[in-house]
C-alpha cells in the first residue's frame, strides 16, 4: 500500500476499528461506527480558536498558582492554602520524593503542556520553523497523560468536605481561577485532536520523504 493511501485511513482511538476518511461538511464530526466516539471533525479555524483558549487557560493557571485557593478559620486561627505553601510544608516534613512528584504532576507538566501548545500553535499560525513544531507536537502528546490538574481540583473539593465540620472555609481567588482553568482545559482537550494538527502540519510545511 502506498503512502498517500494510508493518509485516507484512520484508526479509532478507543476500539481500534479501521475507517476510511471522507470529506466532512463544515463544523460536523465523524463518529466511530463501532463505539460511537468522535474520530475527527471538520473545524475551519482550529488553530486560532485553540490558541485563544490556551492563552486564557495559561492566564487562569498563573492566577490559580499564585493566589490563595482557600482560607480556613478554626476558632479564630487562620490558615491559607496556596501552591507555594503546599511545597514548603511538604519539604519541611521531609517528604522529598512526594514533593518532587507533586511538583511535576500538578505544576510543571500542566505548565509545560500549555506553553508548548501556545508556542506550536503560534508558530503554525505564522508558518514558521517546522522542525520545532514537530518536536513540540511530539512533546505535548507525550506529556498529556501526566497532567493531573483536574485530579488536584477534585482533591481540593474532597478536602473541603472533610474540613467542613471543623472549620469555616473561605474560598480564594485561585479557586475560581481553577474552575475556569478546568473548563478551558476540557474544551481544549475536546477540540484539539492531534490527528488534525498533524494534518495541518503536513499541509503547512509539506511532507518530507523520510520513509525508508
Amino acid at each position: 500500500m502506498k503512502k498517500h493511501k494510508l493518509d485516507n485511513l484512520i484508526i479509532c482511538k478507543r476500539c481500534h476499528t479501521l475507517h476510511k476518511k471522507i470529506k466532512l461538511h463544515r463544523n460536523t464530526k465523524a463518529l466511530c461506527k463501532h463505539c460511537g466516539s468522535v474520530i475527527y471533525r471538520n473545524h475551519h479555524n482550529i488553530i486560532e480558536t485553540t490558541l485563544a483558549l490556551s492563552i486564557s487557560a495559561i492566564i487562569a493557571l498563573m492566577v490559580a498558582f499564585s493566589f490563595t485557593i482557600m482560607t480556613i478559620n478554626i476558632n479564630g486561627i487562620y490558615q491559607e492554602l496556596n501552591l507555594t505553601a503546599l511545597f514548603v510544608v511538604i519539604f519541611e516534613q521531609h517528604f522529598y520524593l512526594m514533593g518532587i512528584m507533586l511538583g511535576f504532576l500538578i505544576f510543571l507538566f500542566p505548565l509545560a503542556i500549555l506553553v508548548s501548545i501556545i508556542l506550536l500553535l503560534t508558530l503554525m499560525h505564522f508558518r514558521r520553523s517546522g522542525y520545532l513544531v514537530k518536536r513540540l507536537l511530539i512533546l505535548t502528546a507525550k506529556l498529556l497523560p501526566w497532567s493531573m490538574i483536574d485530579i488536584f481540583f477534585i482533591s481540593i473539593l474532597v478536602s473541603m468536605v472533610k474540613l467542613f465540620d471543623y472549620a469555616q472555609i473561605e474560598i480564594g481567588v485561585a479557586f475560581v481561577a481553577f474552575i475556569l482553568l478546568l473548563v478551558l482545559d476540557i474544551i481544549i482537550n475536546k477540540q484539539m485532536r492531534f490527528n488534525e494538527l498533524w494534518r495541518y502540519y503536513e499541509s503547512i510545511y509539506g511532507v518530507k520523504n523520510e520513509q525508508s
Binding site: 494510508l6 493518509d7 485511513l9 484512520i10 484508526i11 482511538k13 478507543r14 476500539c15 481500534h16 476499528t17 479501521l18 475507517h19 476510511k20 476518511k21 471522507i22 466532512l24 460536523t28 464530526k29 465523524a30 463518529l31 466511530c32 461506527k33 463501532h34 463505539c35 474520530i39 480556613i72 490558615q79 492554602l81 505553601a85 503546599l86 510544608v89 511538604i90 516534613q93 520524593l97 512526594m98 512528584m101 507533586l102 500538578i106 507536537l137 511530539i138 502528546a141 507525550k142 497523560p145 501526566w146 493531573m148 485530579i151 477534585i154 482533591s155 481540593i156 474532597v158 478536602s159 468536605v161 472533610k162 474540613l163 465540620d165 485532536r193 490527528n195 498533524w198 503536513e202 525508508s212
Partner: protein
C-alpha cells in the same frame, strides 16, 4: 452526523501511532512512524516484559501503600494513624457518604481493577484466550484513562497537611502516601508501555 465508512479490510497489517495517530504499516521488529518519526514500538517481547515488570513493582508497592498509615494526626501530643481503609471508615461513620464512595472507588477499586485488567491483557496475549479484540482494545483504553484518578487520596492528604498545620493539632502525610503515589506512577508506566500490537497476536 455519522459519516465515516468502515472498511472491511483487516487491520492486521496496519497500526496506529500513539503519538501522532497516523496509520502505519505493521512490520516485524522496530517501526518508525512515517509522519512523526518517533519509534512506535520496540520488539513485542520487550514491551511485554516491561509491562510485566512495572506491574509487579506496582503490586509490590500496593501492600505498603495499604498497610502503612497514609495520614498521621498529632493532636496535643497524641498521635493517631490512619490507613486508607481506616480513613474511608472514619468518613463513612461521620456520614459523608459521597466522599467516602469517591475515595473508595479512586484509591481501592481503581488500582485493583487496573491490576486485573493488565494481567488479563497480558495473559490473553500470551495464551490466546478467545475473546473479542475490540473488547480488549476498549479495556485497554479504560485502563489508560482511569489510571491517574487514584492520586486523589494522596493529593487530599497533602492539602490537609498544609491546612491543618498548627501547634496544637497537626496532620502529617505518612509513609503510605509515598508508597501509594509511587504505585500509581508505576501502574501508569505499565499501561503506557503496553504494546497494543500484543492484542492482535
Amino acid at each position: 452526523m455519522k459519516a465515516s465508512t468502515e472498511l472491511k479490510m483487516s487491520n492486521h497489517e496496519l497500526i496506529r501511532c500513539p503519538i501522532c495517530e497516523a496509520v502505519n504499516l505493521d512490520k516485524i521488529g522496530e517501526i518508525k512512524c512515517r509522519r512523526c518519526g518517533e519509534l512506535i514500538y520496540k520488539h513485542k517481547d520487550v514491551s511485554f516484559n516491561r509491562t510485566l515488570a512495572f506491574l509487579m513493582t506496582a503490586i509490590i508497592l500496593y501492600f505498603p501503600a495499604n498497610f502503612y498509615p497514609i495520614l498521621i494526626t498529632k493532636k496535643l501530643g497524641v498521635t493517631q494513624e490512619n490507613t486508607i481503609l481506616g480513613g474511608i471508615m472514619v468518613l463513612w461513620e461521620a456520614g459523608s457518604y459521597p466522599v467516602a464512595i469517591i475515595i473508595l472507588l479512586a484509591s481501592v477499586f481503581v488500582p485493583i481493577l487496573k491490576f486485573i485488567f493488565i494481567i488479563y491483557l497480558l495473559i490473553s496475549t500470551e495464551y490466546n484466550v478467545k475473546s473479542s479484540k475490540i473488547d480488549k482494545y476498549k479495556l485497554f483504553y479504560i485502563t489508560e484513562s482511569v489510571g491517574s484518578w487514584s492520586m486523589v487520596d494522596v493529593f487530599v492528604v497533602t492539602i490537609l497537611s498544609v491546612l491543618i498545620h498548627f501547634s496544637a493539632i497537626q496532620i502529617v502525610p505518612g509513609a503510605g502516601a509515598t508508597a501509594f503515589a509511587l504505585m500509581v506512577f508505576f501502574t501508569m508506566l505499565s499501561a503506557l508501555s503496553f504494546d497494543t500490537r500484543l492484542i492482535k497476536r
